[in-house]
Symmetry: C2
Subunit: 339 residues, 2 copies
Amino acid sequence: MKLATLHDGSRDGQLAVVARDLKTAHMADAIAPTLQAALDDWAFIAPQLDSLYAQLNRGEARRAFEFEPQRCMAPLPRACQWAEGTAWLHLLELLRRAQHGAQPAQGLAPLPDALREEPLLAQGAGDAFLGAHDDILLAHEEWGIDFGAGIAAIVDDVPMGATPDEAHGRIRLLMLANSVSLRQLMPAELSRGAGFLQSKPATAFSPVALTPDELGDAWRGGKVHLPLRATWNGHVAGQLHAGADMDFNFPQLIAHLCKSRRAGAGSIVGAGTVSNRDTTKGKAPPGHACIAERRALETIADGAASTPYMRFGDTIRIEMLDEAGKPVFGAIEQTVRKG
Amino acid sequence: MKLATLHDGSRDGQLAVVARDLKTAHMADAIAPTLQAALDDWAFIAPQLDSLYAQLNRGEARRAFEFEPQRCMAPLPRACQWAEGTAWLHLLELLRRAQHGAQPAQGLAPLPDALREEPLLAQGAGDAFLGAHDDILLAHEEWGIDFGAGIAAIVDDVPMGATPDEAHGRIRLLMLANSVSLRQLMPAELSRGAGFLQSKPATAFSPVALTPDELGDAWRGGKVHLPLRATWNGHVAGQLHAGADMDFNFPQLIAHLCKSRRAGAGSIVGAGTVSNRDTTKGKAPPGHACIAERRALETIADGAASTPYMRFGDTIRIEMLDEAGKPVFGAIEQTVRKG
């Protein structure tokens, strides 16, 4: 099923069920007031939501209304945990090559083995996520504003020490994410060793969160095997494949998170920015799901990056189409503004 | 006023008002069901809670009952943000000296200026806090289980770009914290640069959260000027002063957090483990609020640490007494167990 959270003036919004074709919706507040409330008692609530979803798809729901993604908050407007991985190591490799290439004395550092053996996850803040159409409000362009197109999973309770197989069974919902980074604030934070804080402002999520079964065969091996498109100021920056080159799948990311602690229902685990190796041999290359990857390639090729980061007024659109070319999650469509 | 959250089988528990002397309590569910609900609408809810608190202290509350800290969940059992700073640089200095002393080739590295100019904050997970009497469940002693006695603030909404003065006015509640660390998992995580994840299991908080006005003159300059005691297996490990040697106050920590993003109501900002310089000149030294500090001093003095980390069955008690020797927040009393 597909779920969304609609603005109602409250902090957590109101839960709605959205039709498979994203054309109609139906309030679900008679079943659960918020998505967190549904996740808190998923085994009991989900079947009721699923029943309403089936009615809605058959055109039999009594109070269906037109689904307007502009009215959406993030499916979970705030979450008790937001941890983001770097599941596509290709991006890390490029960033490191670009960084070290600019400092030839240090040589080209290959990716440390530790990063290939275990996923890298960072804790983030879950207090203020953005809806798919919310502006990205930031004070300074000079912070190096970058988008980051990716996928995130919302989990049920996961016990400490869960294996990847166990974690797999605790994935309840999937969403698209725009994980915004302030690239110019990152080096100082990385050098201080405590992870990302100021360099990671609010993340935005797709209008709709969906249960993995909605993806059919495209959800396999803990990965989403569908194309992901990032459009920056109306030009396609990346036409990627989210199932390709993903070095750690969602179950592995979640099991890593839960090695020494449990995760509470409603925790969100992001897989990071999608990044594909260019195996097109002259045909259209996959492009990039963030500006940093493009700048890294420019730096490796030319010694310096030529593409600037986002400016106030820039737009970013992130969407995933199914094999029939239809939108799966609805699109993230944001504008960067001075805030 | 003093507030607590009592176990009722739900994830967020039930809000209660606790008398100043911690002897009686009164359910506050007729005013706000949970502490998060109160924080979501603080300007409207707090005066009502305060009125009940006054009744309770006068012995006039109609359904007062004995306050049992064993029944407490964390005041906020889960939070949309948990960020922890390192406000006492003395601890960082000792850890670095011990680390570099063990690797003489690198020399004794002084604390980088950047760490003196801006506070270090790390995002943590807010999904599963522990109540003051909850066991610390961990799978392996070999992870290097350490307690960490400190103080945390719960804030109201804080806008992006808030100054320390503005942040000061957004602090709603204060609590004691036991910020548990898995010290043997930290070096690998630090070397990977994405902050703390597996090395920071669930944090525990005091039975009671209180409004800063409860501290009177002891709350000044954005610091809590009261003694903090950590008792490990029945022996006082640290008899510290939380107002001393604190290099960054709470308003500075919160302003740092909000440089590039707002913080939502109910975000918790911890100041880290209290650490005092020994200026006693032969009298009883202040001791330590975490084992890592003691091990660092041993390493600096003797070349190796001799105090082991916590074992299954170990107990830790953290409390703060006012100038009359009375407990302010109630005590954190936890036992480490294999989980």
